[in-house]
């Protein structure tokens, strides 16, 4: 049992880790084919894993409805949404005179599934994304309060960049365009690159730890 739970996964991790690290250096078509094939396997595994995810979602909300937990009405809405969308996606469209089969339009006629997507899903997603503008404003207000020298510096830099990035700002104060470019290209880029160097080294170190079995908590648990 320990072999199946620990040694075998570690062995598979080691072999696949080494093979695909070397694959990067091998331009031969066999190497490319291997990568393509494994990517397809990953998609298939992902598809099966989605069943696990959806069953988890159904289970959680079923328990909430059964126990009448606070907010169980939302769980009911979720069930209604999923079942309703499934019926719309795979049901029969009387207007189009054909089975929908997940199509948004049939012969130019918008199906119920297409309607759900275009008039429910898309506006809701757009609403969430639009909220970002208001969230940025409130976050900016909080961080730009000049309560410390660092915050004051941030405020000044932000004001310069914001004015320098709009055509009117650069027209009114031409020097701000160059200053903005300098802040973004020199100060901002250098810090970003420093962060990226650290991230890259961290990624390589983590990969080495996983390939060589030093880090194995992702298997569920620490060392044995």
């Amino acid at each position: 049992m320990n072999f199946l739970r620990r040694q075998l996964p570690l062995f598979i991790t080691f072999i696949t880790g080494v093979v695909f690290a070397l694959q990067y250096y091998i331009p031969h078509p066999i190497s490319e084919t291997l990568l393509t094939e494994v990517s397809k396997w990953l998609q298939i595994v992902g598809g099966f894993a989605l069943v696990l995810g959806i069953s988890s979602l159904f289970h959680i909300h079923f328990v909430k409805i059964r126990r009448h937990e606070p907010g169980w009405g939302y769980s009911f809405v979720l069930y209604a949404g999923i079942v309703g969308t499934l019926i719309a996606a795979f049901g029969y469209s009387a207007a189009a005179g054909a089975w929908v089969n997940g199509k948004e339009t049939i012969n130019g006629v918008t199906t119920a599934f297409g309607w759900v997507y275009s008039y429910t899903m898309v506006p809701l997603q757009a609403t969430m994304f639009a909220l970002l503008a208001f969230f940025i404003a409130s976050a900016a207000y909080r961080s730009f309060r000049a309560r410390s020298p660092e915050a004051a510096l941030l405020l000044v830099a932000a004001v310069i960049v914001m004015i320098g990035r709009v055509p009117l700002g650069e027209y009114l104060i031409p020097a701000l365009g160059g200053l903005t470019e300098w802040i973004m290209g020199v100060l901002n880029s250098s810090v970003r690159r420093a962060i990226l160097i650290g991230v890259s080294l961290g990624t390589v170190a983590l990969s080495l730890k996983i390939i060589f079995g030093i880090e194995r908590s992702y298997l569920g648990g620490g060392r044995e």
Binding site: H28, I197, L201, G220
Partner: protein
């Protein structure tokens, strides 16, 4: 008035005629199988000529079963070996030579194992002189020598990491304080006191994303402490594979904490893989359940601010850790503590204090020191190279370039 113009025209015509007479076939033409590739390229090189000027053009012709076709035509003063993305150890000819890659295109497909005949011609106006045709057969290669420097540096860094691990086993290594990780206990303690749950997010990435791996490793450490305090843990997921892995990690953490009964299978749950639907659901959980502590680990995109700002509005203590540099300003602004970039990868070692884990951190620091030295020395060498007009600094600098 007309005489000077007439003279100029005659001089021009004479010089063109004289130049046309000098148009010689391209010399030292060599056509080889494209090195470091999948067998889909041919490389043609030839010596520079005295007529390498914009008004003269080189024409590359490829002969296939369908006949001879022009692959490309370009000004004679362009396309040199020194301008190609090649390192000095993979250059097929001296830097001053012309260089042209022949790939599959309108002129025909380049397939491995088939011989192809290539002709290079110099063209000026109607006049054209061609070098003798050369034949080469493309074949796939088993190693990309352009990536030799990359491999050497990875092996060097790997060696440094393993030496550091051995060193860490023998003696204790100092770790600087990371405020965000010191606050983990504070956050869990606060949630326990208030009797509220802890919300932990593993980010937008899948299991193949290193930041998600780091986030799930940290989840194990956090879950162990959560288990010992018997506090509720909520881990909503965007990826069912990540959910399955995190379920196992959490379960094992509860076992290690000696609280297997406190483990709830539903603590890790799937919501959706859609970005904003997931965000809306998690925001809803924050507003309804009011977690006392929110952890945002892993990689994030536009949803970062929507999540953290909502969390901040509920008064929760928030700890973020991400390598998504474009989202860092939002995390720094809205969270109490932020693990910046590599600190996310250091968190596992910091929380566990295992010598093996801490050793890898020392390895990373040595790697950074090495990069700093290379940056300094590289700047100096490049400057010296330009000032004295020497080529030798380029041989060293090439070793640290990204060449694919």
């Amino acid at each position: 008035m007309l005489r000077p113009l007439l003279m100029l025209t005659i001089v021009g015509l004479l010089s063109t005629q004289a130049f046309a007479q000098d148009l010689t076939p391209p010399a030292d033409v060599n056509v080889i199988d494209g090195p470091n590739d999948d067998g889909g390229r041919l490389i043609a090189t030839w010596a520079p000529s005295p007529y390498d000027r914009p008004d003269v053009r080189y024409r590359v012709l490829l002969r296939t079963a369908d006949g001879e076709k022009t692959v490309a035509e370009f000004p004679a003063n362009t396309k040199y070996v020194k301008g190609a993305k090649l390192s000095w150890w993979t250059r097929p000819a001296p830097p001053t030579f012309h260089y042209f890659e022949i790939k599959s295109g309108k002129a025909g497909n380049i397939e491995p194992g088939k011989p192809y005949t290539v002709t290079i011609a110099a063209v000026m106006g109607e006049q054209s002189v061609a070098a003798p045709p050369m034949t080469a057969t493309p074949s796939p290669d088993w190693f990309n020598w352009n990536e030799l420097n990359n491999l050497v540096l990875v092996l060097l860094f790997g060696g440094i990491v393993f030496v550091s691990i051995q060193t860490a086993r023998r003696k204790e290594i100092f770790l600087r304080r990371i405020a965000g990780l010191d606050a983990v206990d504070e956050a869990i303690g606060r949630a326990t006191e208030l009797g509220k749950p802890i919300l932990y997010l593993t980010g937008a990435g899948g299991m193949s994303d290193p930041s998600t791996l780091a986030a799930s490793v940290i989840l194990g450490r956090v879950a162990k402490r959560v288990a010992s305090y018997e506090t509720d843990l909520l881990v909503p997921h965007r990826d069912p594979i990540v959910m399955s892995v995190c379920q196992e990690i959490t379960k094992q953490s509860y076992l290690e904490a000696g609280k297997p009964d406190a483990f709830k299978e539903d603590s890790n749950f799937f919501i959706t893989d859609d970005q904003f639907s997931y965000t809306a659901a998690v925001d809803g959980i924050m507003l309804r359940r009011k977690p006392a502590a929110n952890f945002f680990m892993g990689s994030y995109y536009a949803e970062a601010l929507l999540l953290t700002e909502t969390g901040a509005s509920t008064g929760a203590i928030q700890i973020a850790g991400t390598d998504s540099d474009h989202q860092l300003p939002f995390f720094v602004t809205t969270c109490d503590y932020t693990l910046i970039g590599e600190e996310l990868y250091a968190a596992s070692a910091y929380l566990s204090r295992e010598p093996v884990q801490v050793g890898t951190l020392r390895g990373q620091d040595l790697g950074k020191a090495f990069i700093l030295v290379v940056l300094g020395a590289g700047t100096l060498l490049a400057t010296v190279g330009v000032i004295i007009g020497a080529e030798w600094p380029a041989y060293i600098l090439d070793f640290f370039k990204d060449l694919k």
